[in-house]
Every structure is written in C-alpha cells, then in structure tokens.
Symmetry: C4
Subunit: 255 residues, 4 copies
C-alpha cells in the first residue's frame, strides 16, 4: 500500500531546498506554504495520493470532486531553486505516516534536494506574550548551518516531542542524504484555531534562510480567501489530531 506520485512536470532544478507545510496546530505550516506558492506563483510539478489518507473525496465549487492529496510546487531562484510540499492532510495511521514520509523523501532525492525545512506550529496551551519561532535540527551540524540565519534554537521551550510528518520528514532526511530543519511558530492558546500571525513569523525566518523576497502584506487577506477552502478538511483534521493527542498529555506540538 504505497503512496502514488503523479508527475506533472519535470523541471531541471539545481539542488533545490524543499519547504514543507502540512495541516497541523494553528495550520501554521499549511498557511505559510500556501502563501509562498500563491505569492511566488510557483508551478505545480507533482501530486501525491496515498492509501493512508482518509477514504473520502472533497467536493469543490459544489460540483467537482477530488481525492485528498498533497502537491509539490517549484520555482527557480537566484540563490537556489525551491520546492514546496503542501496539501490537504496527513496520514491516518502510524505506519501510514512512515510510508508517506518515505515516499516524499524518495521523490525529493530524485529531485536532488539536499535540505528540507518543515514548518509547523506549537502551543503550550497559553496565549504567548511574545510568540517565538523555534528551530530544531536533525543534527548539531544542521543547527550550525542555520544559526547564522538567526534561527532561535531556544532551550527553554516546552516541546518534548513533535508528532506527525513535519518532525518525521526532518528526522528521516539524513537517511536520504539530506539535512532536516523544523521551524515552529508559537501559536495562541487554542490549539485548533488558524493563526496567520504565526505563519507570518515563520515566513520571516524562511525569507532570511532562503534569501528570497516575499511580500507578506497580503497574508491576512489571502488567509481569509483560503479559509473557506481550508474549512472543508479542517474539521477532519481536528478530529484526526484529537485522536492522536487525546491520550498523550505532554505532547504539545503537532506538525
């Protein structure tokens, strides 16, 4: 039962950086990645379908259906080429999460990706006064590489474990010859409310890392436009995530 990647275009990319933003706490990653794709007018290169996604189709515009999926986009840049992975959902089962990550990383390897940066949100249940963006790397070497971009590898945060694809993709990157970084935007206390401000803050960090110019002025407006589309699967994700978290008191971050 393997995920299936439908190739749409095969662009020539020079050691692209791969940015991942999937649904999760505050939808931070999904919103940040979605905004990048829209604002940079990135082109879709592939779609990933998986037997580990929920067994349903989404009805769009009231008349068209499609399976849940994740999409790969690309853009050629001055400093480096960028691939973005974003999408509707994460896997449903434990084993499914591993298979999904392996499928993504195998494809990324074929594209020549050397560095993966995943974006997520975290919350300790309280409204933060000065919300942070915290980084976690797959090795001290990776950490060193990103410290120069002023990423906060803070020690006094409450994150003990990172559940889901954001953490796992970064954690499995090394096996595929890549480095992995997780960028986590602190969100408001309510764990399932969309938080565009946290997306904004992680995008600021990402802009520094990627050396790209990206106008963040339209973010809140874009989020409002996206909200309707996001809402459809939102409820599903909330329930999926609740299932994962309900019995685990100390898991505060889901990416």
């Amino acid at each position: 039962m393997n995920s299936y990647i439908k190739i749409i275009e095969k662009p020539k990319l020079r050691k692209p950086v791969m940015v991942v933003g999937l649904p999760g706490v505050g939808n931070v990653g999904r919103v940040a990645a979605g905004y990048m794709v829209a604002e940079l007018r990135m082109k879709k290169m592939a779609e990933l379908y998986s037997p580990h996604f929920l067994h349903l189709v989404v009805v769009e515009e009231g008349d068209t259906i499609r399976l849940l999926r994740c999409d790969f986009y690309y853009i050629k840049g001055k400093k480096s080429d960028i691939v973005v992975l974003t999408g509707d959902t994460q896997s449903v089962t434990t084993e499914g999460h591993y298979e999904f990550c392996e499928s993504v990383l195998e494809y990324a390897k074929k594209l020549g990706v050397k560095d993966i940066i995943t974006i997520g949100g975290f919350s300790d249940g309280k409204a933060p006064q000065e919300p942070r963006v915290i980084g976690a790397a797959d090795s001290k070497a990776t950490k060193k590489k990103y410290e120069k971009h002023k990423i906060d590898f803070g020690k006094d945060h409450p994150i003990g474990t990172i559940v889901g694809a954001s953490g796992m993709l970064a954690g499995m990157a090394e096996r595929y010859g890549m480095s992995g970084l997780v960028l986590m935007g602190e969100t408001m206390g309510m764990p399932f409310v969309m938080d565009p401000k946290a997306a904004d803050r992680t995008l600021h960090s990402l802009i520094r890392i990627l050396g790209i110019s990206l106008d963040l002025g339209k973010l809140e407006n874009t989020v409002k436009e996206l909200e309707d589309r996001l809402k459809k699967t939102e409820e599903i994700h909330k329930n999926l995530l609740k299932d994962v978290t309900k019995s685990k008191d100390d898991v505060r971050y889901i990416g």
Copy 2:
C-alpha cells in the same frame, strides 16, 4: 492483502458504462443498482471478495453460508453496454477502501469501461421538501458531458466531502483512463433508514443518461422483497458507518 475477483463469465463488451451502487446512506445506491440488475435481468459476470470486508459469513435461507462480497453484472444494450457493481458491504479500514477501489478500477479497465457512474444518498439531517438528485463530476469536462442529461450540479447543497467508495471510485477514475460521476439522491432526515424514493429519483436520472428503458413501477415492491435480505447486513453497515461518521461533524454524505 488484495481483493480477489472470481470471474464467472467473460462477455465481449463495447466500452461499457459502469454503474456502482453500494451500501450507504439510505441504501440509495444499493437499492437502485439492485433494482436495475433484477428488472433488466442482468447476468452476473464476476464476484469480488476482499480481506477488507468484515470477517464474517452471512447465513442465507437458514442453511447456506457465504462470505461478504460484491458482484459485477452486465447487459448488452442498444446505445451502450452496461456493467453494474453492487454488493453487501464496503471496506472496514481506510487503506482497505483504497485497495478495494483500485481492484474494481483495474478490473473495469480490463473490461474497457470508459465511464463510471456511482449512486449514493445524502442527507443534511432534515426531511427535504423537494428532494434533489445532485451530481458531482471528477472534472469540468465530465460535468459538461452529463449536463445535457439535465443532471443538477447544484452549488447550494451542504455536501463538503463524500466518504467511501462512491466518491473514491469516481475520484480515482481518471487515473485509469475513465471519467467519474457521482449521483446523489437526497434522503429523509434519518440517515440510516432505507429510502426507495431516493433510489427511484436517482434511477430516473440514470435512465436519461444511459438511454435505457426501465419500468420503475415495481421498485417499492421489490424493495420490500429485498428488505429482508438487506436487513442482515444492514445492522453491520450502520455500525461501520457510525464509526466513520461519529467524530466528523460536517460529513453529511456517505456513499
């Protein structure tokens, strides 16, 4: 763990249309497909068994047992040949739904099927005054193709997602070189009560699409005869569907 298709007959079919009616909300699809098979005296061509169906056998006539299964029937027509898939059940697990759909579509491809039409029911929890039949297509091109048959691709309905094989078979059709259409009959408020009138309405739409003649006068009687047989697995499906829906507030349609 793959589904197993037992071939009974290998008729020569010219680009047949495949109609799918499986258990679901109001049993709309199953009743409609079952009536078509009985009234058109379609011939059985194959049986599908799956490790993703519940681990039980049904006792028939008090003395004979059989595994849960789905059946393929066919009839040669003037305008086009027709294949009908109907059966006892849907898959139990998320992954099982994907495997089932892939098995069905691979077989359909071998038969030369180019168009799949799945039938289901939907309910928004209220008794509708003028119950509708709503279509959802796998692409705007497919939508165009069916609009001429007066299918209502209404925008102001509450269907955000379609859970189960009806939606997925239509949504996955394109990968197998086919078009996919879902026909959903609006049912009464009570989600698990069989609704022959909704089946009747979807069959009216289907008659127009397929260009066949089908006497719908005996539908209610046939349903009464079927009811006893359906009841046996009814309870099981109710529970299966409850499991899928219980934690998902906004999922209103199950096909």
Copy 3:
C-alpha cells in the same frame, strides 16, 4: 505479514476430513476439538503461528513460555483420515482473519483435504430448553451430502451472520476445491461461559458424520482438567470477542 506453519510430521493421508474447533462462544468448538485430540490420541503434525494473534506469550507450568498458536493433529481412520485444527486464539484484525483462513486452507489443500467441518457455538441470549445442533453449508450440494447424517439444517434459528474463522473457513473452502460445513451447538444464555454439554452434542453429530467411535463419557472430566489451561487465554478472548460484538446488536453467533 503471513502466518507461519511449522511442520512437525508429514504423514501420508488419504483425502482427510479436516475438523476445526477454535475459541468462541461457549468455547464449544475448542472443547470438542480438544477432546477429540485427547481421546483419539491424535498426533501433532504442525503448528501455526501468526502475526495476527495477540502480541503476547503464555506462561505454562509457571516456568515455560510459548507464543499463541494453533495446532494441527491427525489420525488415520478406517473410513477416512482426520485432521483436527484447534488452538489458543483467533486473529485480532479483520484482515488478519482472512490471512489466517487462507494460510490454513492452503496447508489443508496440500494435505489433500476435500471436506472441512468447523465447530462452534451460538446463543440467542436465553437458556434453551432443548438445545440444538444446527448446520450451515457452503452450498446446497454440501447440505445434501450431510443431510443423510441427520444434521439439522433448521430454518427457524436466529443466526444471521457467523463472525470469525469457523464461518470463514467453511465459506472460503470452495475456492480451494473443498466443501465446507459449520456445526453450531446451542449454548446457555450467558455468552462467555464454557459449555461442555454443547460440545458433547456437536461431537455426537460429528461421530455420525465421521463414522468414528469416540467415548464421550469422560468429556466433563476432561473439560475440568482443561479449564485451568483454557482460563489463561479465556479472558483475552472474551475481550477480543466483546470488541467485535459490542456494536453489532444482531450478531448472535461467534465461531
């Protein structure tokens, strides 16, 4: 993830009949099969281990451990050779039940088995006044074959579905070129209490079918001796079966 059959002996058997008695309602099948093995001094020929059995070992005699397993025994007879399958448990998952049955039937086919008879219990929640033994066959032809042995293929019983390996093995037998019969002994109202009398009654039917002589006088004593050993996994099975049945009101038989 396939079941693993450890071969202990390869006896030459002439079209043996295979009798299956696994844990279930009233432990009817397990007790009947266990008594046959003990009383006829059948020889063990193979052990089946499965990744679909619970992930635990049983501690025997306080000092030795072993995985959960099922055992195949044989005896050469005048009329026909007999193979008995009995064991600790059934599978945990839906898919596991199918894989287990396929593994058993593939092995049975290699042994030249042509007929499978599975033994189980059923209960409609009340204490029966004249408890019955009811048969269910995988076809009318199989039914005919066993009617001459005075099996009651009664129509007025409450069994709508048979959950688990007993029903499935009989239901899948035809695919492997065998016939399948389920013999169900009616048990007391309390669904999880061991019922040696129901085992006794099904053994009476089995004696007629197999044309063997088997002294049933020691059954109750043997059950008492077995009880301690059975108790260990009993609790586990109760819980497994509860999980399967708790949400299915009309499923009255589990074999």
Copy 4:
C-alpha cells in the same frame, strides 16, 4: 512495512549473548540495560527504526530531533561477548510487534547470537514484601541451562501471560536457532513508576549468568540522570501500555 537497521559497526563477535531491555512495567528492562551499556562502556553497533513505532520525533537538548529508535551495543568479554538491545519504545500494533521481533532476531542470527535474555518487570498490584526475580524459559532445556545460575523458576507467581517484545523475543528465539529466557523483576504496586531497585535485582541475576563484573553502586544515581531523558517518552509508553492492558483484567506483566 519493515523495520530498518542502520549498521554503525561490524565487530567480530564469538557467539554473543544478547540482552534485551525495552520500556515496560517499572521500566525495569530499560533501566537495567541502559545501566549495563553506560557502566560497561559498551559501543553502539546498530540502530533500529520501525514504521511500527509512534509517528513522532523526540526533541533532545531543546534543539535536535531524532526518530524513536532502538539501539544495539556490544562489548567483548572474557567468558563471552555481549550484545545489548535497548531503546525508546515498543511497537504500536499487534502485527508491528511480530515484525519488530522478526527484524531483531534476523539481525541477531547474523551476529551469531545463540542465547537471548530479555529483562522486564511484573507487578500483581500490591507492594511486594520480598520482591523476587522470576525466570521463564522457552523450553525445559533452556530452563535447565539457567537453573545452575540460581534463577528462580517459581511456580507460585501470578504471571499468566507476558505482553510485548520481552516475552515474544524469547518465545520466537527457537525459530532462529537460539534459546530464550525472560528475567522478570517484581516491582512495586504502582505499575508505571520507575523502579531502579527491581532493575538492580535483575542485574544481580544477570551478572551471575553472564559471569561479568558490574558495579551496581551507581545505579540509583544513574537512574536519576537518565530520568529526565526517559520522562520524555515515558508518558507515551504509559498510554500505549494502558491501551493494551485496559481491557485485559488478568494480564499482569508487560515487558
């Protein structure tokens, strides 16, 4: 979906004994194995990653992430070489437990391992007055082999079944040409509180068996140092174990 073993070093070992200590009741096995690795300064030779472990990464030192994993360590000894397997977690699903054990045993076979000793804890819900270390062997021959080391193969203990990898690895050892022993330290009544004293007692038994010298004086201090690291996944294990045990009244030991 197979576990993946990353080889770090390929030492030449002479028929090494393999000691296994994974998370479980009182964390007895994990603490004992962890202390052995630290105190004997054993070298890491391999890491095992599995799709059957929870889908999360652990954040270490606040800035680095890694997947859940188990580690193999080795040391060359006078009497015999020793391999220790310890780690963060056990599998999540029933099937996953079997796959994990098969992966471990296949690797152990390649290393030439002939004897496996797994360490765990057990509790009957009361605080024991004179806590015991009880052995359970995979055969009477294995029992005999260890009796000379004063292992208590007591008959009057409450252990009916052993859930998880400790029992299963020992129970499956024979299939891979090895002997299997489970050493269980009795712990305090509270099932999920770490119990270094039980670890101490099992280590005393292990020292006799392996013929090694190991200073146990620092155990309690080391445990305190380990506690912080253990705490991170502790909560997860508690919940995993609760799931397995909650519906099984008579299962008292989890290894």
